[in-house]
């Protein structure tokens, strides 16, 4: 039996890690795993002061729900909760939170990793990096591909997650 998706959301509000864990908590679970993506103070050697996140909200909500459902199929029982924040974030603030609960530990790592990796490839969200010297730039991202082409390997592709 696959797991349940209990929460997916694009939000302008601060992400509460405890609430994410509570959303997937169940006495039938022997394992819970929480991933938090946070705003880092440097990028490619440049000091960063903060980050703006923009989304195509309607599509991002749909895509996040689809990704969470895929993660749920990787669980036997268990639950998935994912929230991605948009707007202006300060250093150290949580931009994405992914909580997985499951009867056993192995699938929670697999499902959690699936969610963050697919977010990087498919979620229509963009980062505007603000540097300490007052400059700003859009973070170079991953080109979106038509769905039928997804999963096909492209020569020379790879890189950082």
């Amino acid at each position: 039996m696959k797991g349940r998706v209990v929460l997916t959301r694009i939000t302008e509000n601060a992400i509460d890690p405890s609430a994410l864990l509570a959303a997937v908590a169940d006495h039938g679970h022997g394992a819970h795993l929480l991933f938090l993506g946070t705003v880092r103070d440097h990028a490619d050697g440049r000091p960063v002061a903060g980050m703006g996140y923009e989304a195509y909200v309607d599509m991002a909500e749909t895509t996040l729900a689809a990704i969470a459902e895929e993660a749920a199929t990787r669980l036997e029982g268990g639950a998935v909760a994912v929230v991605h924040r948009i707007g202006e974030l300060e250093l150290g603030e949580v931009s994405v939170g992914i909580a997985i609960g499951s009867p056993h530990r192995a699938p929670v790592y697999d499902a959690n990793r699936h969610v963050i990796e697919e977010i990087k490839k498919r979620l229509p969200v963009w980062k505007h990096e603000h540097y300490t010297n007052g400059d700003a730039a859009w973070v170079e991202g991953t080109p979106l591909r038509p769905e039928a082409a997804r999963g096909e390997r492209v020569a020379g592709e790879g890189g950082e997650a």
Binding site: E54, V57, D58, M59, A60, P124, E140, G141, L144, E147
Partner: protein, 101 residues
């Protein structure tokens, strides 16, 4: 994101010839900056493809000349191939490479 309400001026709608269609296109992030707006309208031949749309936008002559040929075209929230035909009622968006997380 807040989107502006769509106002369809009946006089303008009547002005679109039957062999043409007016498409409102949504832009995000760096492409929004190139377009100078979240939403732009472009006139295309009826049955035009996603690839035709990108060419037409680049030909508008403003900041969109810098729109990459390979820009992702999203129709009704799905990424489409360049040969995908666009219909007048489609929700169409141009998306830069994504960087969530």
């Amino acid at each position: 994101m807040k989107t502006d309400p769509v106002h369809i001026d009946p006089a303008l709608a009547d002005a679109v010839p039957p062999d043409r269609m007016q498409i409102d296109v949504l832009f995000f992030a760096s492409y929004r900056e190139l377009a100078g707006a979240r939403r732009r309208s472009v006139m295309l031949p009826a049955g035009a493809s996603a690839g035709d749309l990108v060419h037409a936008l680049r030909a508008l002559g403003d900041g969109l000349v810098a729109l990459p040929e390979g820009a992702a075209v999203v129709v009704n929230q799905r990424v489409v191939r360049p040969d995908h035909s666009i219909a007048p009622d489609d929700e169409v968006a141009l998306l830069p490479p994504v960087a969530g997380g």
